[in-house]
Symmetry: C2
Subunit: 416 residues, 2 copies
């Protein structure tokens, strides 16, 4: 797309967003219901378009993990429709009074939730992101500009058209979402439009996200990577610990909330490690251990310093035996990415210290890091996950796509 | 300061901030009470240091408005102490559970408020900012790096030393706040320390703020300027309207929440304008009017296009007669700075449309824009005012200096 076309597309999105900001909850929810229905009703079209992306991925020799992420079927479409329906059932954040204060001079000061305006999402791979983002932005009264990856172009375009059409038929202003083809120049032009676009959320590989953060003139919310830890404390229940470690590593190793490093308290390492290692090896996991780990598990490879920083996104696990809770927290603060970290322990005091002192977006006690997800958190879906501290942290749902304004109601008050 | 010294100062602030994050409310409040006491007890020292700044301002021929902003007296010191005390009385935001959800699988998902970390404030002129920021950051568990203006160096340094000493005596870790002398290179070095400093808030003239926003690698929250409007609707109570207009323009014209443009509905302009103009002229205000205004008030100067964008910060007022509420809103959206805008009307529907459609941080009904202030909003004081939409908007108090984390409590749950 030409730069002028991009500018007019974004300006149109801005104008439309003013109308989205004042839509009633009923209109938005009805549209979301229609959108969910359209997704299943028009599955043939979407699956046919998806086949083109999958065929092209195979032709280009993409790994089967990546091809699987692209591939859509009826079950995945139903999942997308269910996400949209669950978003329609969440309470509308817009117009909500967040706090209200009556001042001694009689002024009533209300903090009221409002949409951000226009949100640009730049994403790779999974086509469900298209549906999730359209639904979340509509419900939160924001315009959205969708820039998906080249590899999912046909799928994303089909989903976009089906959902946009259904929403407009249900009374949503045309252009509530805009679709931008994968095109490097278009992205660069979009990222210069501060004052028109209010927020950029990049989702994908670390390289993509660093590039967006570097060139954007618009505020960016992001996470670069997920180097997630599970710490098995000396007071851990081994049954729970083994299940959580296995789940966090193998249930879906290619995602940002999968565990990359396992930390085990030295008091229990000799008993716990052989037990969990067996299960991990059976699932095809390669273990890279510290010296102590290798004394307990002599057959595993040695972990180097860079392994502690690594986001493998694969069936590889770094394992380190630590002296105590303090050293575990220290390791996470030093090498982690402030994304999602878990402790397994029956000791409430250790759990409390871990959740207080580990400075990550999500801290888990006795459950898998894989729960770090908007859907699992009850947000219906997510626009992304943030490891930033400003504005939004962790999975971003409806509330995280809003701002607020102060409305001050008086009766002639002046300042003395 | 040398770049190495700046880096170690900021790193020290980061380390100390970890201790500040876990201070109890009681310890913080006791320290704030001591700080307020120290400010009045050691007034002689502070006023003597302040005299140096005032003398130097006079030598350099600063305007009397600027010299007045610098000048401290017992009354101003008492006001600063009262701000600190009122912050000690506000509820502690840290550790507060913002929301809590039990998921069908039994997971308890808590959103918990945490400090941001280290905040850098870059400010000009008024020395009370030093005290306000130290108190707000301490209560919200953040470290703070203070970089005040050269013109207030002696005052800021004295206030800093008195407050830091009192806080440390009361059990706050040394270095909870850091004082950086005015030095261009030091600021540049600080603004590069993303990952160490978590947020920058620039306060001062538009030029300073643009420069900080341009070179900072750290997130910045800011407002560039305050082009604030009062709109007198056709259903306005003239008595209230006249009082509000006068207050918004003359009570303190040099600040960002002072009115710069008056909009009057054409239905009432002939009656209202002569009445308010008389009062404004008596206060020495220069009026620059649109054509219709000049038909009603033939002696006033003509307003040019650039007057609608102007932040005079002086006894000058642009006046425009508008057709109706729509045109008033349109004018504010086109020329305003999204800071603070007021409507005067007895018509509830007009008030509601104005508060919904004017996209400003603070919208006022029947009161002065001068209330756009953390203290007036009941926040004790403010770290600044934001016209950004991300993270914080309007006056920034304790809550706006925090982030949150998710704490997820399970009992062995894994993801299916």
């Amino acid at each position: 797309m030409k730069k002028d076309d991009i500018v007019s597309l974004a300006s149109r999105a801005k104008r439309v967003s003013e109308k989205l900001a004042v839509l009633t909850t009923a209109v938005k929810n009805r549209a979301l219901t229609k959108m969910a229905g359209a997704l299943t009703r028009r599955k043939k079209l979407i699956l046919r378009e998806n086949e083109k992306d999958v065929a092209s991925a195979k032709r280009r020799g993409l790994s089967s993990a990546l091809t699987n992420r692209l591939h859509l079927d009826e079950k995945k479409l139903r999942g997308m429709a269910e996400s949209i329906l669950s978003i329609s059932k969440l309470s509308d954040p817009i117009g909500k009074i967040l706090s209200e204060r009556r001042r001694p001079n009689g002024l009533l000061i209300q903090k009221v939730r409002v949409p951000l305006g226009v949100i640009l999402i730049i994403y790779e791979s999974r086509p469900n992101v298209t549906a999730d983002c359209m639904a979340l932005c509509l419900k939160s009264g924001n315009g959205v500009i969708l820039k998906g990856g080249k590899e999912a172009f046909y799928s994303n375009r089909a989903i976009y058209h089906v959902l946009e059409e259904a929403a407009v038929e249900a009374g949503i202003p045309e252009g509530f979402s805009e679709f931008v083809p994968a095109d490097h120049e278009a992205v660069r032009a979009l990222l210069g439009l501060s004052g028109v676009i209010d927020l950029v959320i990049p989702r994908g590989g670390e390289e993509l996200i660093r590039e967006v953060a570097r060139i954007s003139k618009i505020p960016v919310i992001k996470h670069f990577k997920g180097v997630c830890h599970v710490f098995v404390d000396r007071k851990a229940d081994f049954e729970k610990a083994a299940a959580i470690v296995l789940n966090a590593k193998v249930q879906n190793p290619a995602v940002c909330n999968a565990m990359e490093t396992l930390l085990v308290d030295e008091k229990v390492a000799v008993v716990f490690l052989p037990r969990v290692a067996q299960a991990l090896l059976e699932k095809g996991v390669e273990i890279r251990g510290c010296e102590t780990t290798r004394r307990i598990l002599p057959d595993v490879k040695s972990a180097e310093e860079e392994d502690w920083y690594a986001e493998y996104l694969d069936l590889i696990l770094a394992v380190r035996v630590v002296k105590d809770l303090d050293q575990a927290i220290g390791h996470i603060q030093t090498y982690g990415s402030h994304h999602s970290d878990a402790i397994v322990t029956e000791d409430k005091k250790a759990a409390r210290r871990f959740t207080k002192e580990v400075d990550s977006a999500c801290v888990f006690v006795n459950c898998s890091t894989r729960f770090s997800d908007g859907g699992e958190f009850g947000m219906g879906a997510e626009m992304g996950i943030s490891t930033d501290k400003l504005h939004a942290r962790g999975p971003m749902g409806l509330e995280e796509l809003t701002s607020y304004k102060y409305v001050v109601l008086g009766n002639g008050q002046i300042r003395r």
